[in-house]
């Protein structure tokens, strides 16, 4: 036990050195961060300015440059937990289905008679037929519209629609399986679009995660307030182009079925009557940029359609030269210009009463795409950067004091062996930071507490060994044997004690959110590194010292 094979020594020393190498950049946090940012910007823009080059040169390229991410509570920023209203999509699906249902039932007119769409709860389509005797035929006709559910699991053949009839009414809803599949798609889309919008805004290291069935967690460091973040991601940004039927002056104006009455965005008291079915939607946009109108110099937003959108837009505009059409964003008419000439190129420009900020924001939203469903915010947190800086400063001081106190305590109690333990403790904290950097973990305020707690507890494994060596010295023959037995016999207690604590860390990680999770990560890593340093590193130091000094007696 007192001998280490050469490759064992190399491995232990290698791990320690690697850990320290990866921990080191954290000592120069600002420098390394600027270095990384500069590289990222140079890569993104391809332009190397003097300032960027200077930042980049602030940290040598050959050294590791991974840093521990600072959590929101340390860096400041905004945290939102949003619930996606997945049911919204069912409604849109039913509206989209109505023309097909209508056609299917019209084809069976001689059996079902005339049909009329009834008002129904959102997500349900109710159709009244004039001939109740033909109900079975009507249900059968609508059922032909159902398709097998497309799901990742496959093999399970459920139909997309639930169709039932009662009296003279046919009711259509999405089947449970299709709802689940739809929810999944809605969530994926929502997460993707939120990510694109946050990325477009160019903030650093945002966290965007799906949580549970219908939640999205969004954490953006460095942003001023949760409200700012909500403005960015909270708008649906659904852009549609509708033919204009007429104008109205009040919200109570009568409209026919399949028509919409929407308010104007900037003109108070002006309403537009529009056809409900849009000519083109924002889904067909491929690009959008802020610009200035060439005639008026007003801020505007340009857009470009994909081929499908361009064709539909071109066909409509060439057939309706002179007629007005409305550009609608989230249920408000931005503008309703007349078509001067056919727009066949697939690109156009939206002018309204924009400020430059608004046009830039709108272009960003249009580029990133519309959210498939509305989001409701369940949890909002804003943490100012000063509070985070205070917490870091306080945590650093506390860690230093804790560290020194533990060192003094250990050296006073165990003498030279205490010094060995102190060296191991320093390496241990280095290793924790190294591992945190490498796995890209996030350090939170409770995470710092976890490290301080680890500083206190990390000596435990060493204490167990030293106490055991003390005991063995009373009985064993000679110090070498006592050291050997000390390590051997303390091992089971070390493993049991740390495994149970590790189980807790795992449970905290699985069940916890945010800061609690940050704490569990540092606690878990701290347990692993402290066991490693105690049973390998300290032992290597003790053994090396013993081989070099060859003491006749030792005092622990």
């Amino acid at each position: 036990m007192l001998q280490f094979a050469l490759w064992n020594r190399i491995f232990i020393i290698g791990v320690v050195l690697a850990g320290l190498a990866f921990a080191m950049p954290n000592l120069f946090y600002g420098q390394v961060e600027r270095h990384n940012d500069a590289i990222a910007e140079i890569e993104a823009t391809g332009v190397t300015s003097d300032a960027l080059a200077a930042d980049r040169a602030g940290w040598p390229d050959f050294l590791p440059a991974t840093l521990v991410n600072l959590g929101l509570d340390l860096r400041g920023g905004a945290h939102l937990l949003a619930e996606v209203q997945v049911e919204d999509v069912y409604e849109a699906r039913m509206d989209a289905l109505w023309p097909d249902v209508r056609d299917a039932l019209r084809a069976a007119r001689d059996q079902v008679g005339t049909i009329r769409r009834q008002d129904a709860v959102p997500g349900e389509l109710r159709v009244q037929i004039s001939d109740p005797a033909g109900l079975a035929a009507a249900v059968a006709a609508v059922r032909t519209l159902a398709q097998p559910v497309v799901s990742l699991t496959g093999g399970f053949t459920a139909q997309t629609l639930d169709v039932s009839g009662a009296g003279d009414v046919v009711t259509v809803t999405l089947s449970a399986e299709e709802q689940a599949a739809t929810n999944d798609r809605t969530m994926q889309q929502s997460v993707e679009i939120v990510r694109r919008r946050v990325d477009e805004a160019g903030t650093r290291e945002p966290t965007i995660q799906r949580q549970g069935d219908d939640r999205v967690l969004i954490q953006v460091p460095g942003i001023g307030s949760a409200q700012e973040l909500k403005d960015l991601i909270g708008t649906t940004a659904r852009l549609t182009f509708h033919p204009v039927v007429g104008r109205a002056s009040s919200a109570d104006a009568q409209v026919e079925s399949r028509q919409l009455l929407l308010p104007s965005l900037d003109e108070e008291g002006v309403f537009f009557i529009l056809e409900q079915t849009p000519v083109v939607t924002g889904d067909d946009l491929v690009d959008s940029q802020p610009a200035f109108d060439q005639q008026t110099g007003q801020p505007s937003v340009t857009f470009r359609f994909n081929p499908t959108g361009a064709r539909a837009f071109g066909e409509y505009t060439s057939a309706n030269v002179g007629a007005p059409f409305a550009i609608v964003l989230d249920g408000e008419v931005i503008s309703a210009p007349s078509i001067r000439q056919a727009i066949t190129g697939g690109s156009g420009q939206i002018t309204g009463n924009f400020t430059v900020t608004e046009s830039t924001g709108l272009a960003l939203l249009l580029r990133a795409g519309a959210l498939p469903a509305e989001m409701v915010f369940l949890e909002e947190r804003t943490i100012g950067p000063e509070l985070g800086a205070d917490s870091i400063a306080a945590g650093e001081i506390a860690a230093m004091v804790a560290f020194s106190a533990v060192l003094i305590f250990m050296v006073l109690s165990y003498g030279l062996f205490g010094v060995f333990a102190a060296v191991a403790l320093i390496l241990n904290v280095g290793l924790i930071f190294g591992v945190l950097s490498v796995i890209g973990a996030t350090l939170t305020l409770p995470g710092i507490a976890g490290i301080v707690l680890t500083i206190g507890m990390a000596v435990d494994a060493n204490v167990l060994v030293f106490e055991r060596i003390r005991e063995e010295l009373k009985t064993a023959r000679g110090p070498a044997r006592a050291i050997e037995l000390g390590y051997e016999r303390a091992l089971s207690a070390i493993i049991d004690a740390n495994l149970t604590t590790f189980i807790i860390a795992v449970i905290l990680f699985t069940l916890g959110a945010g800061p609690v999770r940050g704490f569990s990560v540092t606690l878990g890593i701290g347990i692993i590194t402290s066991v490693f340093t105690a049973i390998f590193v300290t032992r290597l130091i003790v053994v090396t010292w013993f081989a070099w000094a060859r003491p006749k007696t030792i005092e622990v």
């Binding site: 306080a394 106190a405 707690l453 206190g456 049991d496 905290l508 916890g512």
Partner: protein, 323 residues
């Protein structure tokens, strides 16, 4: 070289001498804690109740009455304002926490309300800033309670099983009894002092469980070793021997951990103080319980000593503790 020795080299303390008093005291403390918990309740944070907290900072002294008066016209229901003290704050840093209850029918407090509150408070102290604003909807807070209870239960369950696998079921009952003791006493202190109880406190409780089990396991590990070594000695003697042998380590580790936590408690800032206090208290209680609670429970149940006879009657000959 003279060494700092918390515990003399040879100790021969009879930990069961006052078993009735210590174990009785633990039982009384647990009952008292439960009583306080039910009578006074816990000062739940927004994580569990929903609502909004706004941290305010100003160079002017905190005037709770003026803040309250300023917010009165907004009609926000239950508003709690507490001043925050910290040794690291200078005279020009006056910090308060304003807490607003969850509003009827809203998932989270609307930005309009927050802006109105901020404007009202700035009318009192124009230089006031708001370093953090946090808002949790009632839907999420309900789920967080479930998760928290689940986390504590899962930890206890996992430990019960692990100790059972590694030792004997009697040990795992003893260990879990000690852990429940620690958790309840901590909840009791939080209730008595009305310290804010939030998600971080749950994390602290789980850490206490982790720390306390660590301590208990070390003693159990030695007990297991000694039970094999001294097959015929009285269980109580073997337990005393094991506790004495590990006493130095137990106090040494608690000492270093408490020293580290004390630094954090005093210097770590007010944001984290409740969390650190919970762990600090838990380490003290956890150390006590691994010496005085876990072993007593195991002694009461008794341990199967002779592994060669699988069906030996357990728990009868050592279960009369009346020392």
């Amino acid at each position: 070289m003279r060494r700092l020795k918390i515990v003399p080299d040879q100790t021969n303390i009879n930990f069961f001498k006052y078993a009735r008093a210590t174990f009785g005291a633990s039982v009384v403390a647990v009952i008292l804690s439960l009583g306080i918990w039910f009578a006074m309740g816990l000062n739940f944070g927004i994580d569990f109740l929903g609502g909004t907290t706004i941290r305010t900072e100003s160079a002017q002294a905190v005037d709770i009455a003026a803040y309250r008066a300023a917010m009165e016209p907004l009609g926000l229901g239950d508003v709690t304002i507490t001043e925050v003290f910290d040794p690291t704050f200078g005279a020009d840093r006056n910090v308060a926490m304003v807490r607003i209850q969850a509003q009827e029918g809203a998932e989270s407090v609307t930005p309009e309300i927050i802006l109105a509150v901020e404007a009202a408070l700035q009318a009192v102290a124009p230089d006031m800033t708001f370093p953090s604003v946090e808002s949790v909807g009632p839907k999420v807070s309900g789920e967080l309670i479930t998760t928290a209870v689940l986390a504590v239960a899962a930890s206890l369950g996992a430990i019960l099983i692990y100790i059972w696998l590694r030792f004997e079921w009697q040990f795992s009952v003893g260990a879990v009894a000690a852990l429940i003791h620690d958790v309840i006493l901590t909840i009791g202190v939080f209730s008595l002092l009305q310290i804010r109880f939030d998600l971080a406190t749950i994390a602290a409780l789980l850490t206490i469980i982790g720390y306390s089990i660590n301590d208990t396991v070390v003693i159990f590990d030695r007990l297991r070793e000694n039970l094999i070594k001294y097959k015929s000695r009285d269980l109580r003697d073997v337990m005393n021997l094991s506790a004495n042998e590990t006493l130095s380590r137990t106090l040494m580790t608690s000492g270093t951990t408490l020293v580290a936590l004390l630094a954090l408690l005093v210097l770590g800032g007010d944001v984290i103080r409740g969390f650190v206090f919970a762990i600090f208290w838990g380490v003290i209680v956890g150390t006590y319980s691994s010496i005085y609670v876990a072993k007593n429970v195991v002694l009461m149940i008794g341990v199967k000593r002779d592994w060669s006879k699988p069906d030996a009657p357990t728990g009868t000959q050592f279960s009369n503790i009346d020392a």
